[in-house]
Amino acid sequence: MKKYYLCGDQNTIFDNMENWRDYKKVLLPDIPGLHNIDVYERNGGYEALRDVFTSGKWDSKKVIDEVKAANIRGRGGAGFNAGLKWSFMPPKKDGLPRYLACNGDESEPGTCKDRRIFEYNPHLFIEGAIIACYAMEMDAAYVYIRGEYADWIDMMQAAVDQAYQRGFIGENILGSGRTIHMYVHKGAGAYICGEETSLMESLEGKRPYPRSKPPFPAQYGLWGKPTTINNIETLAHVPLVIKNGAKWWSSIGAPTHPGPFLYGISGHVNRPGVYEYPSGMLLTDLIYNVAGGIRNGKKLKAVVPGGSSVPILRADQLEGITMDADSLRTVGTFVGTAGMCILDEDTDIVKFLIRVSKFYDHESCGQCTPCREGTGWFVKILKRIDAGMGEMKDLDLLLELCDTMEGRTVCALADAAAWPVRNTVIRFRDEFEKKIKRSGVLINS
């Protein structure tokens, strides 16, 4: 049996995942008023930042090494080691500014975790972002938040203003001689801006068309300067790593994909919500215990474990599967953003897929032909199947269309649109066939 460790604070270590109920939250702890800097500081906030900036124990390499050792796998979906990403930054050159871009676009359907950080623990993120700027010798952090979160943008701005007043952001931070600024930027409703290079184009005041890579952001990022981009939650983990050590942090949850996780559980469950637990939770625990089971006593049909673009799982595939990259890979899906959508037995999977495809059709930026045209054809073909006008060969046509899109565009939106189609058609083929057979058009006339 896999051995998992989990712990709530430095002194508590449990030796198996069955004790998940005893987990003590660290990202979104139950402390009233934590969004206020006074309360945050009273509860040990900004200690990590103070330590990094003033104790003399931390140089930039040490911070990066610590974060790398913790193996914070990016929480925005790709799951890349954040510390390793940081180490890709070229050596600092005088007079050449460098930037941190903080990705709060959070537009992957099913994802709603960063919203809770903006509302309940914004200073944890700010602290992490400023430490990241220190480690990578950056001049400013740009926090890009989706425009729909207008209220949360105001909360974030208020938190940034407080941190400026206390001298945690701005000129000569805590007398260290380092100057780092932080600016909040409001988006205006475009899924594509969550893509890293697209977010940079958007910040530069252009239409947010993703850029071809290479050059990667570390070489040519915001305004052509070296830039690193991280998800909001990823940066919120940084102070925890600095304060308690990489060893502590990486002992939480699944060994190869460690750390606390914000699970956004939505859909047909009794108790949807954003829950903080260690990584590597059993999907069945999350659905039946944390989220209180399927509502109205229905049976489970399917789970989309990490946002709309990750491959869907049938109920019979869940046995023993945990929320970490390795375990999910065995059933051909990913952690993504850990925004789980739970679907009950009454779900019309064809209609569900139409709506998901319609989303990608709407959000494709239109730069690359396979994506611009392909996403539209997904909707057309699926609608015709749903309307009883489909033919069996349409299912092969859908899969063929996936082939022409995956990996053939500048960014991963085409892949994100094709994965749900490919996997839903394969894993729920009988439901598509049923709709086609009912139409009676079995042979191309």
Binding site: D30, P97, P109, H185, A188, G189, G205, S266, G267, F352
Partner: protein, 177 residues
């Protein structure tokens, strides 16, 4: 209608310009300010932003037309958007949308006859844990929508009330299973 910014608004825009190494980056914040002032982004409003920032009109127009939240047509006092995407779509968003159309008797463009409401289907609003959700005039979220809650919200908007922020508590206090 005359399209000008007040001194205070120009200063506000200049504050945004100062945040970035390049003034083009202030196009988005300036468009937000213009939309807030004029209600929507007409060609004249876009021209005003371009002139204020001293950037080409085409550049600003390109940005304004890309994003869903920049309104390119005349917007009535209340814009109601209901998410029908992904989780919300499966948890009643589509039904709420149908209810709205019926309740407000909107035309094919989603406009109500009294000129007070405009309804739109939204793509994921990022509040899947409280599905279905709606958003009022690009700001307030209305969580866990029901027909009753929509009716009540519409009545409040008709009375000219300002909706308050609906905080969703972080933790569910019911014991875990």
């Amino acid at each position: 209608m005359e399209y000008t910014f007040t001194q205070a608004e120009v200063q506000e825009i200049q504050k945004h310009v100062a945040k970035y190494p390049d003034r083009h980056s202030a196009i988005m914040p300036a468009l937000w300010i213009a939309q807030e002032k004029f209600g929507w982004l007409s060609a004249d409003a876009i021209k005003l932003v371009a002139d204020t920032l001293d950037v080409p009109y085409a550049r600003v127009y390109g940005v304004a037309t890309f994003y869903t939240m920049y309104l390119k047509q005349d917007c009535p006092p209340n814009l109601i958007e209901v998410c029908t995407c992904f989780t919300c779509g499966e948890c009643g968003g589509k039904e709420r949308m149908a209810f709205l159309k019926d309740y407000l008797q909107t035309n094919e463009k989603g406009r109500s006859a009294d000129g007070q409401f405009w309804i739109r289907e939204a793509e994921c609003l990022g509040a899947c844990d409280t599905a279905p959700v709606g958003q009022i005039s690009n700001r307030r979220f209305v969580h866990n929508l029901t027909d009753e809650k929509l009716r009540e919200t519409i009545e409040r908007l008709r009375r000219g009330e300002v909706l308050s922020f609906e905080a969703i508590p972080l933790n569910d206090q019911t014991p875990l299973g």
